[in-house]
């Protein structure tokens, strides 16, 4: 096992779902390294939020980005060096509120990064306000009478945005999540993993998920219809069972590879040639 510890003190609340995710990530990174990915080629990028503290807890290349901007920062890293394997950690608030434009466009262009959305269904680090996936009626500090907005289904959105890999996990199923992360990394193209992550302090959903989450299999992984059916089983309010697993996967060309393909190693820029056209 690779030692991934840092000197940072973990400050998540006891019982927080983020611990399970951290554990799964450690296992997945170890697995990737043991199967031949050099450790120095792995980069984790995080956003701002409780979830994002994960970069402080892993002794591996990382960039602790701005709130909502982890996905584009990650894309920039991949663009610069397509050899790198990129894991992005961000919250539902970051992915679906502040940073939703980047999430959709990264999926659309099939950026070869792996996005892991810690979905605790609220802004936790700012002490509990509703996000785009909070159930209607959530009593957060900004909505003491209950939020008036219906949640959106982020996986449906990802399907509409053409994400080439869509999965859902539960932070308490560590081995399962570990495997999803490995699959996502091995998938060439944009991968989106939503991890249902209870926030025990502001919105304790442990029991809710324990009851509702089940491991699902999409028999035809590249079927949008089948994927959509699974995705729509749960509506992010109270109703429905919650399938976890890979729900959709379909290969297509990657953004960074396409963007890099005309580059010639060590070629000097031909400025003089170009200046001729200016005479």
């Amino acid at each position: 096992m690779e030692n991934l510890e840092t000197t940072s003190i973990n400050t998540w609340c006891p019982g927080c779902g983020n611990f399970g995710i951290l554990q799964a990530v450690k296992l997945a990174i170890n697995d990737l390294i043991s199967k031949g990915t050099p450790k120095e080629n792995i980069v984790i990028v995080s956003d701002i939020g409780c979830n994002s503290k994960i970069v402080d807890y892993l002794n591996i290349n990382s960039f602790y980005s701005l709130h909502g901007r982890s996905i584009v920062t990650a894309m920039g890293i991949k663009m610069a060096n397509p050899e790198l394997k990129i894991l992005v950690f961000l919250g539902d608030g970051a992915a679906l509120d502040e940073g939703i434009s980047h999430l959709i466009h990264a999926a659309k262009r099939n950026s070869d990064i792996n996005v892991i959305m810690h979905n605790n269904r609220l802004f936790a680090l700012t002490t509990g306000q509703f996000t785009a996936v909070s159930p209607k009626g959530l009593k957060g500090k900004s909505t003491p009478e209950g939020s008036i907005e219906e949640p959106i289904n982020p996986l449906e959105l990802m399907l509409a945005a053409n994400s080439s890999f869509i999965a859902r996990a539960y932070s308490a199923k560590i081995e399962h999540l570990k495997n999803l992360i490995i699959e996502a990394v091995n998938h060439k193209g944009f991968s989106f993993i939503e991890v249902m992550q209870p926030c025990v302090t502001f919105f304790n959903t442990v029991q809710f998920y324990n009851e509702k989450v089940y491991e699902a299999v999409n028999p035809e992984l590249d079927s949008r219809e089948k994927a959509l059916a699974l995705i729509k089983e749960w509506n992010y309010n109270g109703e429905g069972k919650i399938p976890v697993g890979i729900l959709f996967k379909k290969d297509r060309t990657c953004f960074e590879e396409e963007s890099n393909k005309h580059l010639v190693k060590d070629k000097k820029p031909e400025i003089e040639k170009c200046l001729q056209t200016h005479l």
Partner: protein, 551 residues
């Protein structure tokens, strides 16, 4: 002075009629005849119709400015004559499309008729006009033919046939003689910026289209293979700046370009680059504001915003070139400085500089090379934010056998988040030391230039595209002209030197609030008078001369 050859040609038409291209061809013709050339573009925020015009100034001495009066008017439509005839010199001459415009005076060319008769496309009517204009100016057919061959990529044969006919049908009015031998390349400010950055090792250019920065994107995209770089248009300016920071973190030199509103959206990212100590070069080309303003017109009113862009305590490099040579030099220089000091750097230009066409001195490119940044030695455990004496912690990049931790949080030397007093002070002071080094670096650069009558007690100060006109008028009136090139860190020493013996300082700026005066005030320099223009057009030589005459 006025004895030297110096002509101003206005070429106007509706958007979509090709007046800009016609202007460029004419400029190149005269450039080939040895004239110094400068083109200023005036166009509206529309795609077809309206009124666009180019002012081509050709002269024996070099001038990067326009005159109010025109010697020649090349009119693609009647509107052009209506709008500009009043500015024609007494002896001036109008060359026009006589199929579209009924008038007596001047040189009429039946360009539509010729084009039609010879079976050309409507747009080729411009070729006829250019040819007729050339003949009227006494330009040899050979010179014209060579120029057309170079400039027209489609339907060369037909174009030449049309040109020939128009050339033959037109009478020579006067003969503009050849001056010196070698033409210089003609570059817009934006093209020069692109080349400078490429020469300094640019790897990736990210952008979201926004006038007047867009042509950097277009130019680099066109030459992606020539320059062996990536250009990438993203979903918005926030994506642009943050991707650029990501790429730099991974070791690639990245640049972005935008204007006011887009720049505003980037300011959070600029603060990130400062905290994470990630190099990034931002081209901020000013246009008229506030908000959408007059989006295809120029302004110098984003100076203070740019100088103070981003929250928190940090120093950026900011330079403001005044012509294509300086644009090229400073875009290269700033990219190098961004990497040397791991900091955001901003090249502040404006529409008039970005989109005007200048003669370019190729020697400038020789002064730019990709300068080495401080890199990790590979020994010991890597600490991204090592507490270096000069504040500059050596860089390493992911993939390179080091654990590299970049961050937007305040951090320890490893890059892990901190909240305690001691750790914060340590990192703040590391950065403060770096800012000091940056200031020293500026002292070693030509950060302030002095021109004109260096003994004059009266000096004018102008920056950016206003340099051209200020320089010309200063020389004419025997004044000293001071041009600040580096605006942050402020080149105090060089300013003091430049100001020696000056007892009256006049600012010339295209803004309503005199922003450079505020920057100077902040640094203890008092501006005695402000000559401001805020109709979003550049000063003309006559206009400025009149205002400066009795200071």
């Amino acid at each position: 002075m006025k004895n030297k050859k110096d002509y101003s040609i206005i070429i106007g038409g509706a958007a979509g009629q090709g007046s800009r291209k016609a202007g460029l061809i004419i400029a190149k013709l005269f450039n080939n005849l040895g004239y110094n050339v400068f083109i200023s573009e005036d166009y509206q925020s529309l795609i077809k119709g309206g009124h666009n015009f180019s002012i081509v100034r050709i002269s024996e001495s070099q001038h990067f400015s326009t005159r109010e009066k025109a010697d020649f008017l090349l009119a693609l439509d009647a509107n052009t004559i209506d709008k500009h005839e009043k500015y024609l010199e007494e002896k001036g001459c109008v060359v026009f499309n006589k199929d579209k415009i009924k008038r007596e005076k001047g040189v009429g060319i039946a360009s539509d008729t010729i084009t039609k008769e010879l079976g050309g496309l409507p747009i080729m009517s411009n070729t006829a006009l250019i040819a007729g204009f050339s003949k009227a100016m006494g330009i040899e057919w050979k010179v014209l033919e060579d120029a057309l061959k170079k400039e027209l990529t489609k339907g060369i044969e037909k174009n030449l046939e049309i040109a020939k006919r128009a050339y033959e049908e037109t009478k020579t009015v006067l003969i503009l003689e050849r001056i010196k031998a070698n033409p210089d390349p003609l570059l817009t400010g934006n093209e020069a910026i692109a080349l400078g950055a490429v020469k300094a090792g640019l790897d990736i250019y990210y952008a979201y289209p926004m006038t007047p920065a867009t042509s950097i994107l277009h130019y680099l995209a066109e030459h992606e293979k020539d320059f062996n770089i990536i250009t990438s248009q993203l979903e918005n300016e926030i994506a642009v700046i943050n991707s650029a920071i990501g790429s730099a973190f991974a070791g690639k030199r990245s640049m972005v370009g935008t204007s006011g509103g887009g720049f505003a959206l980037m300011t959070e990212g600029i603060s990130l680059a400062a905290q994470a100590e990630t190099p990034v070069l931002i081209i901020n080309s000013q246009r008229s504001g506030p908000a959408t303003g007059v989006p295809t017109y120029s302004s110098q009113a984003d100076l203070l915003f740019t100088l103070n862009s981003g929250h928190g305590d940090f120093v950026r490099f900011i330079a403001a070139p005044g012509d294509a040579n300086e644009s090229c030099y400073w875009s290269g220089k700033l990219l190098n400085l961004a990497w040397k000091y791991q900091t955001p750097a901003i090249l502040l230009v404006d529409k008039e500089l970005s989109e005007s066409t200048f003669e370019f001195d190729e020697k400038v490119l020789k002064e730019i090379k990709k300068e080495k940044a401080s890199l990790w030695s590979g020994k010991g455990e890597y600490m991204r934010y090592a507490d270096a004496k000069n504040g500059i912690s050596p860089m390493a990049f992911p993939g390179n056998k080091a654990v590299v931790k970049g961050t937007s949080y305040e951090h320890d030397i490893k890059g892990l988040s901190v909240e305690d007093s001691e750790s914060i002070i340590l990192m703040q002071e590391k950065r403060l030391r770096k800012f000091k080094e940056m200031a020293l670096e500026v002292d070693s650069l030509e950060a302030v230039k002095v021109y004109g009558n260096k003994k004059s007690k009266k000096a004018i100060i102008a920056w950016g595209s206003t340099k051209g006109v200020a320089l010309e008028v200063a020389i004419k009136l025997g004044l000293k002209f001071i041009q600040p090139l580096v605006l942050q860190p402020f080149p105090k020493k060089q300013f003091e030197k430049a100001l020696k013996g000056v007892d009256k300082l006049v600012l010339v700026e295209c803004s309503a609030l005199g922003q450079m005066a505020k920057l100077l005030n902040c640094n203890g320099i008092k501006v005695d008078k402000e000559i401001l223009k805020y109709d979003m057009r550049p000063f003309t030589v006559e206009e400025l001369e009149k205002k400066l005459k009795n200071i």
